[in-house]
C-alpha cells in the first residue's frame, strides 16, 4: 500500500536516510516514467533500463532538488535527458531519431495485421498504437500534457524549450496523432471519435 505523504515529505524522509520513503516515491511515479521511457525506447527492456537509470539518477541528486518546481517536473526532465542520451547512443544503429520512416515501417506492418482484428481492439488500443507511431518528441509532449498533469510551462521546463515552442509542438503533435489514428482506424474512426 502506498503512503499518502506528499512527494516533498517523502523526499525529506529519503534524505534523512529512509529508503522505504524513496520506494514509495518510485512506486508513485514508476508508471508514468516507464511510459515516457517507452515513448523513446519502443521496447520494454530498453524502457525499463532508461526508467531505472532515471530513478537512480534522481536518487543521487535528490539533495540538489531545489523544490521550486513540482518533483514530477524535475523527475520528467531527468527522464527526457536520459532518454535523449539513449536515443543518441542508439542512433548508431538507426538512421535518425527524426526519421519518421523508421516508424512508418512498423506502422504499415501493424495496419495490415489490424484490419483483420479491428473488431477485437478497444479504443485505447488504437490510441496507444497511434502514439507509438509518433516521433518521440511528439509522443512525449502528448503524454506529458494529457497524463503527466503538466502545464505548458512545466513541459517547456522538462524539455528545455520555450513555452511558445511547446504550444506549437503540441498543436502539431495532436494533428499528427489525429492523422495516425484516422489512418489506423480507416473508416471506423468517425464512429469512434
Amino acid at each position: 500500500m502506498q503512503s499518502k505523504l506528499s512527494d516533498i515529505e517523502l523526499i525529506e524522509q529519503t534524505l534523512a536516510g529512509n529508503q522505504f520513503a524513496y520506494a514509495d516515491l518510485v512506486k508513485r511515479h514508476q508508471r508514468f516514467v516507464f511510459t515516457l521511457a517507452m515513448r523513446f525506447a519502443k521496447g520494454r527492456e530498453d524502457a525499463e533500463e532508461i526508467a531505472q537509470d532515471c530513478f537512480v539518477k534522481a536518487y543521487r541528486s535528490l539533495a540538489s532538488f531545489q523544490r521550486q518546481s513540482k518533483f514530477s517536473t524535475w523527475l520528467y526532465s531527468i527522464v527526457y535527458t536520459t532518454a535523449m542520451t539513449f536515443l543518441r547512443k542508439k542512433r548508431v544503429d538507426t538512421d535518425s531519431i527524426d526519421d519518421e520512416g523508421t516508424f512508418v515501417q512498423v506502422e504499415s506492418q501493424q495496419s495490415a495485421f489490424d484490419t483483420n482484428n479491428i473488431e477485437n481492439k478497444s479504443r485505447s488500443f488504437y490510441l496507444n498504437q497511434a502514439i507509438e507511431q509518433l516521433l518521440p518528441d511528439d509522443a512525449t509532449i502528448i503524454t506529458l500534457f494529457y497524463k503527466g498533469e503538466q502545464s505548458l510551462e512545466e513541459i517547456a521546463q522538462t524539455m528545455g524549450i520555450e513555452t511558445n515552442t511547446v504550444k506549437v509542438k503540441l498543436f502539431r503533435a495532436r494533428q499528427r496523432l489525429k492523422e495516425k489514428l484516422e489512418r489506423n482506424l480507416k473508416h471506423e474512426v468517425k464512429e469512434l471519435i
Binding site: Q52, Q175, I193
Partner: protein, 168 residues
Amino acid sequence: MNTIEEKLWNYIDGTCTPAEQEDIARLIEQDEAYAAKYAELTALNAEFATMELDEPPMAFSYNVLEAIRYEKMLAPLKATINKKIILGIAAFFVLSIVALLAVVCSSVQVSGNSLIEISIKLPDNLKVLATTSMFNKTFMQGFFVFDVILALFLTDSYLRRKKAAKQA
C-alpha cells in the same frame, strides 16, 4: 495567422487571452464551421485523455532500490581501496626520499677552505651493484619481450574497454 483549428485548440486548452476567448465563443455559437470543428476537437481531446499508461514489470521498484544499494555499497569500497593504495605509494616515496637524504647528509664533508667544496662519500658498507654483469644480453632481450607483451596486453584491454563503453 492562426488557423481555425489552432484557435480552437487554444480555446479548449484555455491558453488564449480573455478577449480571444470571447471572440471564439461567439464564433462557435454563430458559425457552423466553427461549431462542427469545435465538436470534433473536444471529442478528440477527450479521446486523447483516455490514453493508458504502460505498466512496468512487477519487480521494477525493487530493482531500482537494489541498483541504489549496489551503488552505495560500491562507493565506500572504492574509496577505501584508493585511499590505501595512494597512502602506500606516498609512504614508500616519502621513506625513500628521507632515507636517501639521511644517507647523503651523513656522508657530506665540508672542508675548511671553501664552503663550496662539498664531497659526498657513500658509506663503505653500501655496495653498488655491478650493473655490467647484471644487464647482459639475455636479460635485455627478456626485458624487451616482457615489455612488448605488457604493451600488447594493456593496449588490448584498453581497446576492449573502449569498445564496451561504445556499445553500452
